[in-house]
Amino acid sequence: MTTQQQLSAAAKAEIIPGPILEAQHLKKAFPLRRFNPLGAARAVHAVEDASLALFPGQAVALVGESGSGKTTIARILARLYHPTAGTIHFLGKPVKLAGSRQISEYRRNVQLIFQDPFSSLNPVHSVAYHLSRPLRLHGHARNSAEVREQSLALLRRVSLTPAEQFLQKYPHQLSGGQRQRVAIARALAVKPKVLLADEPVSMLDVSIRLDILNLLLRLKEEEQLALLFITHDIASARYFAEETLVMYAGQMVEGGPSEEITQQPKHPYTQLLLSAAPDPDRLRTEGKNLSVLPARGEIPSLVNPPSGCRFHPRCPHAMPVCRERFPQKTQLGNGHWTHCHLYGDGQADNVSG
């Protein structure tokens, strides 16, 4: 029994019975501008039927390469995009997709952290300004004394000390890690229950990435935040999150406890992703051999994606049925599931790969 299983059990049993934020069957297509009005309407099918649930005090990692639709999901959940189809439930209640009042209420609870701290802070504004806006907008601080007091508290919470000095600084005076801490503080300023972190460390220097991840983990535990961690690095998904979801070309292909996903991947794409991840440990077992990859190629165009399972053109185990339709979800036990015809099509039987 791993600690994360205990934790997730505890979270489910004690704090809240259900998920705090749940998205079901999300779909997003970005229409392309048509230059020929008679031509067929074309669209980028960025996300196809994605579902996920976030629990307080728990992190879910969404792993995929560029073009997998993981950022689109974060932005749908942050209400920056409208989903083409699908529903979002917050604390069990469906979230209406229109109306600025509801959006404001929703954003008070769900905040997004961006990938690039060099572009997510406005170069012309000071740290103090960045923190004061959400505090004032959401009515947490009414006068400038309260704003200052709370801004200082926020900076201390993200370990930017002495906070008084950081308040006056401008983004260009901060290092990448410090900027990302400011961005996290800004997200925390609205006192959210859910944090959506879109590749929060991939633009940072290697030696400070763990610090930021540990900061997010600490916040998750201390404040029982629900975290969605979007990453291309499956190893940091394992480090960071209790649960991992793997996406390929807009489709969710596999999900379950992070440990199971990384140690016993079932879907051929997850297996490919793991075999491609940098891993010095492999040297011990396999020697210096980088050319062994179960599949090659790149993510297909999402304007005309492959039919059925979108991985089938690259899949070493592709069958005729893979081309025809996307497989149903197969439960593999212990919360581990996959969408793959190799493991049956929606049946809960265990077929070994």
Binding site: D211, S275, D281
Partner: protein
């Protein structure tokens, strides 16, 4: 390639320093770096942004732009005795005293003319965003043939085309892509094309500066596999520069780690991975979460990389180092040999007072460093 060939030096960098004048002070981008690249070897250079790893490579390739300049040092290149057709070598060897075929010469003292033939013929570079460096209005076949024409004018048009097809096949691109324009190719294919261009004149050294950073993991792995395969086939040496140490440890024969413009550790891939000596190396390796083994809390390196205009005195790493003691603040540690275990093979060098008997009787083990990092993290209130 056999073992004896591998230990033959190809490039010897000695006490190289690069600096440039910035608005507020001189930036010491690279300070007193010495290293040896052997024939057919993959030499990995790791470090964070601003560690000087790219500047070092650019200096060796003579690609530094003013105001950056080499302030001291030399980069000796050991040419291979070549058949007469390669004009560049012949002329250079003639001027360096005739007979000695293995006479090394200093890259940093080549004239513009000599430099032109040295680049491409002996040394090629693949840049970080190389795939965007392709000319968008020229098909890739023409771009490859251009390089061939410029440097091997004795080839006929037909021969050039033949060679371009060969090169594309070498990097795994179908010959019918010869007439494709860069925008018709995926990121991975473009990067392969750039590698094909680098290989065009069969150089002895290829410097790769973060060649796969912009690519997705699967494509990255594919291309790295290709590079290693080509290297085994053609026998060139690679200087591989990256911030991704976990990748480098899988790829390189020798790994050197830079911090604030200096080499802090250098050794065989195995030695650095299994027993990182320098606390910085240890911290860097452990900044990458592992895919295997128990899931445990890991600690990053506290603090941020230093401003190169005001590098801390003594060991530049001491403000972030969990094991720093008084001498680290004042005395600069130099690279010194440390005893390597039998398994590690090649001698290991580290610039750290912890391994200097004058300061410390017993060198710390990896567990000691780990404990120190953890303790420092606890103290720092990160928990």
């Amino acid at each position: 390639m056999n073992a004896s060939m591998k230990r033959e030096p190809l490039l010897e960098v000695k006490h190289l320093s690069v600096e440039y004048d910035a608005p507020n002070g001189t930036v010491h981008a690279v300070t007193d770096v010495s290293l040896t690249l052997h024939r057919g070897e993959t030499f990995g250079l790791a470090g964070e942004s601003g560690s000087g790893k790219s500047t070092l490579a650019y200096a060796v390739a003579r690609l530094l732009n003013p105001p950056a300049r080499v302030s001291s040092g030399e980069a000796l290149y050991y040419p291979r005795p070549m058949p007469a057709q390669n004009g560049a070598h012949a002329s250079r060897q003639a001027q360096s005293g005739g007979g000695a075929a293995w006479q090394p010469f200093d890259i940093l003292r080549l004239s513009e003319e000599e430099l032109r033939s040295f680049r491409w013929n002996d040394l090629a570079i693949v840049f970080q965003s190389a795939m965007n460096a392709l000319n968008p209005v020229m098909d890739i076949g023409t771009q490859i043939m251009d390089v061939l024409w410029t440097h091997q004018s004795y080839l006929s048009k037909e021969e050039c085309k033949q060679r371009a097809v060969e090169l594309l096949q070498l990097v795994g691109i179908a010959p019918d892509r010869l007439k494709s324009y860069p925008h018709e190719l995926s990121g991975g294919m473009r990067q392969r094309t750039v590698i094909a261009i680098a290989l065009a004149l069969s150089p002895e050294i290829i410097i790769m500066d973060e060649p796969t950073t912009a690519l997705d993991v699967v494509v990255q792995r594919d291309i790295l596999g290709e590079i290693l395969r080509l290297q085994a086939q053609l026998g060139f040496a690679v200087i591989f520069i990256t911030h991704d140490l976990s990748l480098l440890l899988e790829l390189a024969d020798t790994v050197a780690i830079m911090y604030a413009g200096r080499l802090v550790e250098q050794g065989s891939q195995r030695a650095v991975y299994e027993h990182p000596r320098h606390p910085y190396s240890y911290g860097l390796i452990n900044s990458f979460p592992s895919l295997h083994g128990p899931r445990r809390k890991a600690y990053g390196i506290p603090g941020t990389p230093p401003d190169l205009r005001a590098v801390p005195t003594g060991c530049a790493f001491h403000p972030r180092c969990p094991l720093a003691f008084n001498a680290c603040k004042t005395r600069l540690p130099l690279l010194r040999q440390v005893a390597a275990t039998a398994e590690e093979g090649a001698p290991e060098q580290v610039a750290c007072h912890l391994y200097n008997q004058a300061f410390r009787e017993e060198a710390p083990t990896s567990a000691d460093i780990a404990a120190a990092y953890e303790a420092k993290a606890e103290r720092g209130g990160v928990r």
